[in-house]
């Protein structure tokens, strides 16, 4: 799987709360360390990635987080304005349009419009010669919405192209669709936690991606794996020790150990389920025991991730 970072565009998706943003950022760090000019694009106006690295506002701005590593938070409103400027070419006309109240309503009410212009901006970022005239990136990593909406957003260009048939939206929709269904150009990383729901959703995602976009998941990343500290026989010993009265500290420590043993075993069962369902071996990232997930933790996690690639 060494080819993953040689792609130009990677979508990182998965169930809500599994650490998509964290994995997207860690993946970006790996790529940047290897000398690729990389940008991590967020699409739900939450500057989660940026906040760990920089004070700068990444709201529709390409902000540098580290050498060769940038981030941007894409919001539909700005994406639409930029799209219009590029499409209409005559600046004054574009401004008339984006300033018009009727157009604002139109943009809000048209189903899929936000998704379409967001995809348009992602595509723009991944071009070698960018319509906006900005410097090109070697790799664009998209911190995409959760599973269902993540696939929906990827499908929007095609849907619009089909409906529009001819005209600029149709043309561009087809171009974007061709790009994201090109396995050489585009990759998909699915992030999961080793728990029932996220694993089920990952298995489902793999089916939907294939069915709707003809894409395969390039890499499944299982996040938050507890260390497998205690063997079943050891757990038995711990239970025995807990039966004899000890100091409150020791009892608490024994209970924590048993609790972790249960969790760690359940996690392994879920990973086994995932491995059974797919044809790629999931990459595993350790649970990070820390009070604040900061730069150092990102660094450590990206090292762990690099080792799995």
């Amino acid at each position: 799987m060494s080819g993953l970072l040689d792609k130009r565009l990677i979508f990182v998706t998965g169930k809500g709360g599994v650490g998509k943003s964290t994995v997207a950022a860690a993946l970006g760090m790996v790529a940047a360390r290897q000398g690729r000019r990389t940008i991590v694009a967020e699409v739900a106006h939450q500057d989660r990635v940026a906040r760990a690295f920089t004070e700068e506002d990444s709201h529709f701005r390409e902000v540098r987080m580290a050498p060769d590593l940038y981030t941007i938070s894409i919001d539909p409103q700005h994406a639409l304005e930029e799209y219009l400027r590029i499409q209409v070419r005559v600046r004054a006309l574009a401004d008339v349009l984006s300033g018009s109240r009727m157009f604002q309503y139109f943009a809000v009410a048209t189903p899929g419009m936000s998704e379409l212009v967001t995809m348009g901006k992602i595509w723009e970022l991944a071009q070698l010669e960018r319509p906006s005239g900005s410097a090109a990136y070697d790799l664009v990593i998209v911190d995409a919405p959760a599973t269902g909406h993540g696939v929906a957003i990827m499908r929007t260009p095609k849907t619009f192209a089909d409906i529009a048939r001819i005209g600029p939206v149709a043309q561009q929709g087809r171009a974007i669709h061709a790009t994201i269904t090109d396995g050489e150009f585009t990759g998909v990383v699915a992030v999961a936690l080793p728990e029932e729901m996220p694993v089920s959703e990952t298995i489902m995602l793999s089916g939907i991606l294939r069915e709707e976009l003809g894409l395969d998941i390039d890499r499944i990343v299982v996040n938050g794996l507890y260390p497998d500290r205690f063997k079943p026989a050891e757990a038995q010993q711990l239970r025995g020790a807990l039966d004899h009265a000890g100091s409150p500290e020791s009892r608490a420590a024994l209970r924590a150990a048993l609790s972790e043993h249960v969790r760690a075993s359940e996690q392994r069962e879920q990973i086994a389920r995932l491995a059974e369902a797919g044809d790629t071996t999931p990459a595993r990232l350790p649970f990070v025991f820390c009070e604040q997930f900061g730069r150092d933790e990102f660094e450590a996690l990206s090292q762990a991730l690099e080792a799995t690639l």
């Binding site: 219009l84 139109f106 529009a164 005209g167 711990l238 409150p248 500290e249 024994l254 609790s259």
Partner: protein
């Protein structure tokens, strides 16, 4: 804080929060607890875990609440005095139902349901789950005789999506802008002003004629439903602000879900929606005396051997890191809320995926602060 007190005299409970914090299981445990106390309760879930859905006898079919077999509870030793009904929301089907109900005639309905923009995009769009969930809640409130409705909200990344959903769709129909869109030439242009003619022609250039035509047809057909949509949005908003409605926010003790909960809470306050409290799931308590890893290892070495004792101590160190993290985040939450309606549920050994799991969780929700402390002590004994 005791959930039973929060829900006294309430008819609608909405559980909000970010994804992956145990919102679905919490909603189900609350609904079950209230039903056990004698109410007729319906819980609307969006996407329950399969095992939980199975254990409640939920299937994907129907899109209407179904009574959960009372035997399910008897098996787990729960005395069920009332009734628990449950349903899984099908966003697409709910949307179709709304169109069906609001359409003035069959041909309008068929035109919308058959429109490609509607078919392809209505369920794919961010916010459509939110919209249909709110709408379903309203329908259930109106058409049934439940004592309590519990809504497990979709995992929005943006709380706004959820609260604004009913309004957003109807905004488009406000004012003269739509009229212009439906009849781009003629009178409307003159009314709205000259500039908009330009807007329309630029729009045509940007989108392409076919797309604009399809959109026109779509909006024109939808135009017949304007009043229905508006009225529905008003009703949903009324239901949300009703004194018998209450919001509970669900979170885990990690930083980001707590940020999200705070964001949601501020929105609720700004919109004057009734806030009932915050439930924090999976808390690593640090009530235990903070021991030094060395002591624990030394104390246990006799019984477990050096190696295993050291592992136990090391594991406990990690646990205490999480306990400190949780404490810090919860303190921050409490300070910002400036409110004592905060309910902490400990990290349970096993994920909740069946009725007996719901029962374990529900014990922590339906008791006082003192009761929770006692449960923790019992678990430690």
């Amino acid at each position: 804080m005791n959930v039973a007190d929060v829900l006294a005299d309430k008819r609608v409970l909405i559980c909000g929060g970010s994804g992956g914090v145990g919102k679905t299981t919490t909603s189900a445990a609350i609904a079950m607890g209230m039903a056990a106390r004698g109410l007729k309760v319906a819980v609307v879930t969006i996407d329950p875990a399969k095992r939980l859905a199975n254990s409640l006898g939920l299937t994907e079919l129907g899109n209407e609440p179904a009574l959960v077999d009372p035997k399910v509870f008897a098996k787990s030793g729960i005395e069920m005095k009332g009734e628990l009904w449950a349903m899984m929301l099908d966003a697409k089907q709910t949307f179709d139902e709304i169109i069906d109900r609001l359409s003035p005639d069959e041909s309008t309905r068929d035109e919308i349901l058959g429109n490609r923009i509607y078919q392809e995009l209505s369920s794919a769009v961010a916010g459509s789950q939110e919209y249909t969930a709110m709408s379903k809640l309203y329908d259930l409130d109106r058409a049934h005789d439940f004592d309590l409705l519990v809504l497990d909200t979709p995992p929005s990344r943006n709380a706004m999506d959820f609260l604004d959903a009913p309004d957003r769709l109807t905004n488009f129909f406000e004012g003269r802008a739509l009229q212009l869109f439906l009849r781009p030439t003629g009178l409307a242009t003159r009314i709205v002003g000259r500039g908009t003619g330009v807007v329309f022609s630029v729009l045509k250039r940007v989108t392409g004629v076919d797309l604009l035509e399809d959109l026109s047809v779509f909006f024109r057909a939808l135009g017949g439903l304007i009043d229905g949509f508006k009225e529905r949005a008003d009703q949903v908003n009324k239901l949300l602000a009703d004194p018998q409605t209450v919001f509970l926010l669900v979170t885990s003790p990690e930083r980001e879900p707590i940020d999200e909960a705070l964001f949601f809470w501020r929105k609720l306050k700004a919109a004057r929606m009734p806030f009932g409290g915050v439930i924090v799931n999976r808390v690593h308590h640090d009530e235990v005396p903070a021991g030094d890893g060395g002591d624990i290892a030394a104390e246990l070495a006799g019984e477990l051997g050096d190696k295993l004792a050291a592992k136990v101590a090391e594991n406990f160190e990690d646990y205490l890191v999480l306990a400190r993290r949780d404490r810090e985040n919860i303190d921050r939450l409490a300070a910002k809320l400036n409110d004592d309606r905060l309910l902490l549920v400990p990290s349970l050994d096993q994920d909740v995926h069946d009725v007996s799991g719901l029962e374990r969780l529900h014990r922590y929700l339906f008791t006082s602060e003192a009761g929770r402390r006692k449960l923790l002590e019992e678990a430690a004994a």
